[in-house]
């Protein structure tokens, strides 16, 4: 069952509709409810390999619904520590729980200062209001 619209206030957001949850020198990243809803039920997640590096603002993989393909944009730079296998096996998990079970990657941050350029929840909601 697709989740209701929400944007947790403990997350950092990227204007391309990605989120990051900071955890020491690591972060868990995913896509926002808005992105998941716009795509529709996800049927494919093409992740990077563990150990690969991702660069802030650059594509690190793809998600697909029946109708559309979307690039995944990294909100922060770092090395991929873990890929959420549950989403690889059941991509619709992202629609059901975009900020919980539907996380996509855990990364080890390359530059913690990049966090400063991300949006807080109010700024992200402003991006949505203007889109």
């Amino acid at each position: 069952m697709a989740a209701a619209e929400s944007y947790p206030d403990d997350l950092k957001y990227h204007h391309e509709h990605d989120w990051a949850r900071l955890d020491g020198d690591e972060a868990v990243v995913g896509i926002t409810w808005f992105a998941a809803d716009a795509l529709g039920e996800l049927v494919h997640f093409e992740p990077p390999e563990p150990g690969a590096t991702v660069a802030k603002d650059a594509s690190y993989g793809e998600v697909e619904s029946v109708k559309a393909v979307s690039d995944l944009v990294a909100p922060l730079s770092g090395e991929v520590v873990e890929v959420n296998q549950k989403v690889v096996d059941a991509p619709e998990t992202v629609n059901d729980d975009p900020y919980g079970e539907g996380w996509l990657l855990r990364i080890r941050l390359a530059d913690a200062s990049e966090v400063d350029s991300l949006l807080d929840v109010e700024a992200y909601k402003q991006v949505l209001a203007e889109s």
Partner: protein, 350 residues
């Protein structure tokens, strides 16, 4: 370039249901209501309804209407009687496909052609320019609404009597006068209901009240692809011929029609490439335009809700076209394996 999108008589009802409306062939159409996959499953297991009022309707009438159409359409129209319908192709001089359509024989000298929305104007012009004395072609699309009600329980839920595929009859549903056509684009039992445009709202409301699920064009595409019905503009075009597309069964090569000499030659020599169905053996979803190793190309692709795998149609060299052949598809730079399968890709378990 702001182009005003056309709206079907049901536009406000789609919006009220929360449909996601998208531009399609010049129309603003619902792509989904609740979700493509659940709408797809509703049609495979129960019943769903699609607003396909954007499709074109051309009426061809007169003592020589049959003669005109026999010379322009690939299938043998003499094989159907009033009350019957036929899947057929409008072909060009090169043997290419101008459109695929269903011809309904209304009476001896009157036919209704239901054509793709995107080709409505081109089809009308094509026929009008070739009109002969004793035949009259009219575009009557704006006069009608069209609802496709599809699924194993569609007929029962509509309270209609059983009937043979590719037949039609006049009837009433919830007080609305309809032409009930036993045709569709999903591979399921069901019908297409043609009504006057002003009655479409009442008919739609009645159909929904019978517990039939509203479905969008997203599910229409996944459903047709699972059963390998071609989409004009993707799988078949003015540049592709019906023999290569596996539509030889719609071509009466013994009669004379536009492009028939070309088609006889293709048939005799055997097509150089063929439109095949395939299922991905690896994760990944094929999409229109992706290259297939060896010179082929994907023409339609999606994720099959019933197989839970990527599926598609594409042209490949004849040597690669047998069921069981291994294909390699270039999915945005990544080679992914697929296997050619017999059509249809999905078949209900008996």
């Amino acid at each position: 370039m702001a182009q005003t999108l056309q709206r079907t008589p049901l536009h406000d009802r789609h919006a009220a249901l929360g449909a996601r409306l998208v531009p399609f062939a010049g129309w603003e159409m619902p792509v989904q209501y609740e979700g493509v996959i659940q709408e797809h499953r509703a049609v495979r297991t129960d019943a769903g309804v699609f607003d396909v009022s954007h499709m074109g309707e051309l009426e061809v009438e007169g003592p020589r209407a049959g003669e005109l159409l026999q010379g322009l359409l690939s299938n043998d129209l003499d094989r159907i009687e009033p009350g019957q319908a036929q899947y057929t192709l409008l072909t060009n001089e090169r043997g290419g496909i101008v459109d695929d359509l269903i011809a309904y024989r209304l009476d001896r000298c009157r036919y209704l052609l239901v054509v793709n929305a995107s080709n409505r104007d081109a089809d009308f012009r094509w026929l009008k320019e070739r009109e002969i004395v004793g035949s009259d072609v009219r575009d009557v699309s704006d006069e009608y609404g069209l609802l496709a009600v599809q699924g194993p329980r569609a007929i029962e839920k509509l309270g209609l009597p059983p009937a043979e595929p590719f037949t039609f009859a006049e009837d009433q549903i919830d007080g609305v006068q309809v032409m009930v056509n036993r045709t569709g684009y999903t591979g399921e039992d069901g019908c297409e209901l043609l009504c006057m445009a002003e009655d479409a709202g009442a008919l739609w409301d009645g159909v929904l009240a019978r517990g039939i699920v509203p479905c969008g064009l997203g599910a229409r595409d996944t459903l047709r692809l699972e059963v390998c019905y071609p989409l004009h503009g993707n799988d078949i075009t003015q540049e592709t011929d019906p023999i290569s597309a596996g539509l030889g069964w719609t071509c009466a090569l013994g009669k004379e029609f536009t492009g028939v000499e070309v088609l006889r030659r293709v048939k005799e020599q055997g097509p150089e490439r063929k439109l095949v169905a395939f299922v991905m053996g690896e994760r990944g979803i094929p999409r229109h335009g992706m290259p297939i190793e060896g010179g082929g190309e994907v023409t339609s692709g999606t994720h099959s809700p019933m197989l839970d795998a990527g599926i598609g149609l594409g042209y490949v060299p004849a040597a690669q076209a047998s069921p069981g052949s291994e294909l390699t598809i270039d999915v945005r730079g990544k080679p992914r394996g697929a296997e050619v399968v017999r059509k249809p890709i999905y078949r209900r378990e008996a």
